[in-house]
């Protein structure tokens, strides 16, 4: 038989207790929060925030910006060349980095690695490449191979391996297991399985990560010039050091343009390919 109608009030009386909106934190969690907040406050103190300095600096910034306009286009040709070199450095470094990260990433994928020891070593190498900042690599390579874009390209390559190696490995780890099992079942070799079942599945992620690392490398290659690793960074530093802000403005604008174009093209390619 149908149950008698139960009104809302009746439900409220009989229903299970509604849980609280928030879980009350334990004493440990509470202390951790407190500590984190205290540290943040101390950090504000630590960096010496000074509103006076900021206010006093504003006219200086204004004056500099004033001198930047109109930008000085007299050295446009050499700036364009430096810009081209910057992008070439980024491109070559990224492409070599991507090519080298693929085998490394295969070794660093738990489900595909031929040996657990190789897995550990390749993981460690990738972490090392990723955790050491690109500027440090650039400094090292400037010492090793001398000033110039070659050092910068090497630094970018290492940085790319650190980034792509990790992403490629993650993408391959997540690849659908079904096709891999099918390849195993028909007697394919390990390499056959990786190239036929794993890489096709991970390809969209690979392309996304590769394009992103090209964008990243383009931005990085500008900074690498500051330590003498080739590219337009050194031009910017010289212009700033000589207080020729109008020239610096041209350089900054052209960098902005380069980064923008690379990002646009990469977004376009990403949409096309994926």
């Amino acid at each position: 038989m149908a149950e008698p109608f139960v009104g809302p009030s009746a439900v409220a009386e009989r229903g299970p207790a509604v849980p609280g909106r928030f879980d009350r934190p334990g004493i440990g969690t509470f202390l951790a929060y407190l500590l984190a907040i205290a540290f943040f406050v101390a950090s504000i103190d630590g960096i010496g925030i000074s509103v006076e300095d900021l206010v006093a600096g504003i006219p200086g910034i204004g004056r500099m910006i004033g001198q930047m306009f109109p930008p000085d286009l007299s050295r446009l040709d050499s700036i364009a060349l430096a810009l081209l070199e910057t992008f070439q450095m980024a491109l070559v470094g990224t492409v070599f980095g991507i090519v080298l990260s693929l085998p490394l990433a295969i070794l660093a994928t738990r489900s595909q690695t031929p040996h657990i020891l190789l897995y550990g070593c390749s993981r460690a190498l990738i972490s090392l490449f990723r955790t050491v900042p690109d500027l440090v690599w650039a400094l090292l390579f400037v010492i090793a191979v001398g000033l110039g874009p070659f050092a910068g390209a090497l630094a970018i390559m290492i940085d790319t391996i650190g980034f792509c190696g990790r992403f490629f490995a993650e993408a391959m780890e997540e690849a659908d297991h079904g096709p891999q099992e099918a390849l195993t079942a028909l007697g394919a070799s390990r390499l056959g399985r990786v190239f036929c079942a794993v890489i096709p599945a991970a390809l969209p992620s690979f392309i996304g990560a590769s394009l992103f690392s090209l964008e990243k490398a383009t931005r990085a290659s500008v900074v690498l010039g500051l330590v003498g690793a080739g590219g337009i960074g050194i031009e910017l530093k010289v212009a700033m050091d000589l207080f020729s802000y109008a020239q610096a403005a041209t350089i900054i604008l052209s960098i902005f343009l380069l980064v923008l174009v690379v990002e646009r093209v990469s977004t376009f390619l990403r949409q096309r390919v994926i």
Binding site: G178, A182, L183, T184, L186, G187, A188, C196
Partner: protein, 277 residues
Amino acid sequence: MLALQPRPLAADPIRVEAAAPTPLAGAAVPAAVDLDIRGMVKSFGEAKPVLNGVDLAVLRGQSVALIGANGAGKSTLLRCCLRLIEAEGGSVRLLERDVRRLAPRDLRRLRARVGFVFQRHNLVPRLSALSNVVHGAQARHAGARYWLHGLAPKAVREEAMHCLDLVGLPHIARQRVDSLSGGQSQRVAIARALMQRPQFVMADEPVASLDPNAGEEVMGLFSDLMRREGLTLLFSSHDLRHAVDYADRIVGLRAGRVELDGPARAQDFAGLREIYG
């Protein structure tokens, strides 16, 4: 035709001799045993064994349906035969090789001779149907030339097209498999298995994810191909009608053992349903 002695529903392990069939009508020599599983044990973790002493022999050219409730261990049994997962106990002889003792290289050679069709076709989604069929050639050859149809030698491409033709899909050769219907995908998977030039084919619920019509069609095609090529077939199914129609022999798994074994023709649905009880 193969005719088997109906095996009584028995709780004790059944010896292979008991399963020995009357030889092919008119043939003087008994048919070879292609698959001989004895006392197979497999458990996952602490739980009670999924397979608890399975004995099963399959003769050359036979078509055997494996039935059993969800979780009875049909997929596990099939996977253990190719060591896609490792059994814990028992022995498996497949195409005259002692599967559980094979070195990796020999295991690959054995797998190459055995086609395996999965419930979810397990094709490589972003590649063309033809590339997926070409993959089957990796059973015989290693190397990058067998990774994509664009790289494959002419003879291999032709053979792959022939396999696609056998399953009635030559016209979708260049289409990406993720754009195919379930029935088409499963047929491509069958073509990939044929590309291996297998001697034995296993199929784990090959049509379970297809609608009834497509399922009927694919199962009919599959079984015809196997018969025509004289291949031994071991397939699992939840469709008792498929088991009766397309198998010579039906084997039922329950509680980790073979609880039913007999010629397909002699079975009635009520009797078969007992395996699910």
